[in-house]
C-alpha cells in the first residue's frame, strides 16, 4: 500500500463551484510524484487538503485521504493535527514569507520537534544543526541565531528544507518550491530537494507547472486540469508519449532545455474545448 492515498477527493467553494473533482493519487515511500497543471488547476488545494490547511471558504464534499493506511477523517481533530505534524512536512513556495520575521531561525526549525514531538531542547538543537549542515549551510550555529531578514532567499529555502526534513517525515509536499527564487538558485535547490529525498527515502509530492522539472526528478506524475486528474502515469511513459491530448499539448508547450529557442506551441483551442467538455461531463454526472 502507498504511504499517501488520496481517493476521489472533491472540494468546492462553500455552496459554490467545485475546486477538485474526484481526485485520486498516491505516493509510495521513496517515490517522487509530480503534480502538474496550469495555475489555478487546484494543485495547491490538494496539498492543503492533505495538510489540513484548507481555507475556510473551501469545503470537502467527498473523498478520503489516507496516511499509511489511516483514514484521516476517522481521527479526532487533535490526533489528526499531531499525525500530520509528525508524518508530513511542507516545503512552501515562497521562502521570503514562510519564516516568521520576528523570530530567530533556530526555534523555527526546532519548534515542531520540541512542542509537537516532545524532543528535549538540546536534542532538537543538535538535530537542527545537523540538518542545516546537510543542506550545505555554512556556519549553522550562527544561522540558527539569525533573523530571516538577514538571510538571502536561497538560504531561507535551504532552512525551510532542513526544517521540513528535521522530524524525518514520511511524506513531503513541495509546492512550487523554486518559483520564487532566482534562476541561478533554482537548480541548486531542486537538486538539494531531490538529494535529501533520496537520502531520507521520503515520499515526495512535488507540485510544479514545469514539465522539465518533472522529467528530472519525478518517477510518476499526475496532470491536473480544472481540479480533475487528466492523466496519472509514470514519467518515462509520459515523456515517451502521453496518453491524453491535453497532456500532449502541455508537453509541446514546454520549452526544452536542449533547445530553448524551439518555438512554443500554445495548447490548441480544440484540445481545451475537449478537456472542458470532459469536466462538464463529470459535473453533469454528479448532478451539478
Amino acid at each position: 500500500m502507498s504511504f499517501l492515498d488520496v481517493e476521489n477527493l472533491t472540494l468546492r467553494i462553500v455552496r459554490g463551484p467545485r475546486i477538485l473533482r474526484a481526485v485520486s493519487l498516491s505516493v509510495d515511500q521513496g517515490e517522487v510524484r509530480g503534480l502538474v497543471g496550469e495555475s489555478g488547476a487546484g494543485k495547491s488545494m490538494i496539498g492543503k487538503a492533505i495538510l489540513g490547511t484548507l481555507p475556510r471558504a473551501i469545503e470537502v464534499v467527498s473523498g478520503r485521504i489516507r496516511l499509511d493506511g489511516t483514514d484521516l477523517q476517522t481521527l479526532s481533530a487533535r490526533e489528526r493535527r499531531r499525525q500530520i505534524g509528525a508524518q508530513v512536512a511542507l516545503i512552501p513556495q515562497d521562502p521570503l514569507t514562510a519564516l516568521n520575521p520576528v523570530r530567530r531561525v533556530g526555534p523555527q526549525i526546532t519548534n515542531r520537534l520540541v512542542d509537537i514531538l516532545g524532543w528535549s531542547k538540546d536534542n532538537a538543537q543538535a538535530r537542527a544543526l545537523e540538518l542545516l549542515d546537510e543542506v550545505h549551510i555554512p556556519d549553522p550555529a550562527r544561522v540558527m541565531r539569525a533573523y530571516p531578514h538577514e538571510l538571502s532567499g536561497g538560504m531561507r529555502q535551504r532552512i525551510l528544507i532542513a526544517s521540513a526534513f528535521a522530524a524525518e517525515p514520511k511524506l513531503i509536499i513541495a509546492d512550487e518550491p523554486t518559483t520564487a527564487l532566482d534562476v541561478t538558485v533554482q537548480k541548486q535547490i531542486l537538486r538539494l530537494i531531490k538529494n535529501m529525498q533520496a537520502k531520507h527515502n521520503t515520499a515526495l509530492l512535488f507540485v510544479t507547472h514545469d514539465l522539465g522539472v518533472v522529467s528530472k526528478i519525478c518517477q510518476s506524475l499526475s496532470v491536473l486540469y480544472a481540479g480533475k486528474v487528466i492523466e496519472d502515469t509514470d514519467t518515462r511513459r509520459f515523456f515517451a508519449g502521453p496518453g491524453h491530448a491535453y497532456s500532449q499539448a502541455l508537453l509541446h508547450a514546454t520549452p526544452k532545455y536542449t533547445d530553448p529557442d524551439d518555438s512554443l506551441t500554445p495548447v490548441p483551442q480544440q484540445v481545451i474545448d475537449a478537456v472542458e467538455a470532459e469536466v462538464a461531463e463529470f459535473d453533469k454526472g454528479l448532478g451539478a
Binding site: 515562497d94 514569507t97 514562510a98 520576528v102
Partner: protein, 336 residues
C-alpha cells in the same frame, strides 16, 4: 553615530513640543476672562490691595514680560507659586503625579487585558457569532465616552451593588503611613495587601471607566491585524507542524500583529491620560486631573501652567516609550 543623532533629534523635538505647549497655555489662559487676584481677596478690598497682590505675583507687568520671567524660572526648575494653594507649583504637581500615573497605568493594564482577550477570542472564532458579538460589544464601548462609563459604574457597583469605593484614593480609616506618593506600588513593596486591596477597591472603577474605550480600540485594531496575519505563509506553515489554532495565533501571529497596534495604543494612551481629568473629578480621586480642575476654577495661572507642561511632558515620554518598545520588538529595526 546614527543612534546619537536620532536621540538628539528626539530631544530637540521634545523641547520644541514643550515650548509650544508652554506658549499656548500661557497666552490662552490670560486671554480668558477671570482674575485670580479678585478671587483671593475678600469683598471690599481696596484698589491698593489689588495692585499690591498683582505686583507680588508679577501680574502687573506686560504679558510678554511675564512670559519671559516665567520661562526663565521654568528653565531653572522653578514653576512659580500656586496662587490658590500658596505652595511651589513643582511640589504640588509632583506630589499629585504618582496618583495619576498609578491610575493611568492600571487603566492601561486593564485595557490591554480586556482588549487583548477580546481580540484573541475574536480571531480564534473569526467569522462566527462570537466575533460578531465582540464587534458589537466593542462598538458600544466606543460610542460612550469614559466619564459616562464612570457614571454607569458608580450606579452599578457603587449604588445598586456596592462592592467598590466610589470616592477618594484610600480609606481615611486606614492605619498606614505612606512614605511615598506611589501608594499602590508602596503597599506591594511593603507587603501590606490589606492596604493594596483598599487602594484597588478605590481605583478599580475609575480605571475601568478609563479603560473601556481603550479596550475596545485595542480589540478592534489587534483583531484586524491578527486576522490579516493569519493568512500569511509562516502562520500556515506553523499550522502544518501540528499546532492547534490557539497556539498558532498566540505564538506566530500575535508577535507580528502587535507591532502595528502598539503605536496606536501609544496615541490612545495619551488620550486616556487626558481622560483622567474628568474621571478623577467624578471619583474624587486625588490626582493631577482633579487638581487641574480646581486650578482652572480658581484661575490659578501658575498651577495651570505647571500641570499642562507636565501633561505635555508625559505625552512625549509615552511616545518615546512606544517607539522604543516598537524598535525592541521588531528585529528588522533593531539591526538597522
Amino acid at each position: 553615530m546614527l543612534l546619537m543623532r536620532s536621540i538628539l533629534a528626539r530631544l530637540v523635538a521634545t523641547c520644541v513640543t514643550l515650548f509650544g505647549a508652554a506658549v499656548i497655555v500661557f497666552f490662552v489662559i490670560r486671554v480668558v476672562p477671570g482674575n485670580p487676584i479678585a478671587m483671593m481677596l475678600p469683598p471690599g478690598a481696596t484698589e491698593d490691595d489689588i495692585a499690591r497682590l498683582q505686583a507680588l505675583y508679577g501680574l502687573d507687568k506686560s504679558i510678554f514680560e511675564q512670559f519671559v520671567i516665567w520661562l526663565g524660572g521654568v528653565v531653572q526648575g522653578d514653576f512659580g507659586t500656586s496662587i490658590s494653594l500658596r505652595q511651589p507649583v513643582l511640589d504640588l504637581v509632583l506630589g499629585r503625579l504618582p496618583a495619576t500615573l498609578e491610575l493611568s497605568i492600571m487603566a492601561l493594564v486593564i485595557a490591554v487585558i480586556i482588549g487583548g482577550a477580546m481580540a484573541l477570542t475574536g480571531t480564534l472564532r473569526r467569522e462566527t457569532r462570537t466575533e460578531a458579538a465582540i464587534d458589537v460589544t466593542g462598538g458600544m464601548a466606543l460610542s460612550v465616552p469614559d466619564f459616562l462609563w464612570g457614571l454607569v459604574l458608580i450606579l452599578l457597583f457603587g449604588v445598586l451593588w456596592p462592592v467598590f469605593h466610589i470616592s477618594g484614593r484610600v480609606s481615611p480609616s486606614l492605619d498606614f503611613d505612606f512614605a511615598t506618593q506611589f501608594y499602590l506600588f508602596e503597599s506591594v513593596l511593603r507587603l501590606r495587601f490589606d492596604v493594596w486591596a483598599d487602594l484597588v477597591s478605590h481605583m478599580f472603577m475609575p480605571a475601568l471607566a478609563l479603560a473601556i474605550p481603550l479596550a475596545a480600540i485595542i480589540a478592534q485594531l489587534l483583531k484586524q491585524s491578527l486576522k490579516e496575519t493569519m493568512h500569511l505563509d509562516y502562520v500556515t506553515l506553523a499550522r502544518t507542524k501540528g499546532y492547534p489554532e490557539a497556539s498558532v495565533i498566540t505564538r506566530e501571529a500575535l508577535p507580528n500583529a502587535v507591532l502595528p497596534t502598539l503605536t496606536l495604543i501609544g496615541v490612545q494612551f495619551t488620550f486616556l491620560i487626558g481622560g483622567t481629568v474628568i474621571i478623577e473629578r467624578l471619583f474624587s480621586y486625588e490626582g493631577l486631573g482633579n487638581m487641574a480642575i480646581d486650578a482652572v476654577i480658581n484661575r490659578d495661572l501658575p498651577l495651570i501652567q505647571g500641570i499642562v507642561i507636565l501633561f505635555a511632558l508625559i505625552f512625549t515620554v509615552v511616545n518615546l516609550v512606544v517607539d522604543m518598545t516598537y524598535a525592541a520588538l521588531n528585529p528588522r529595526l533593531r539591526h538597522a
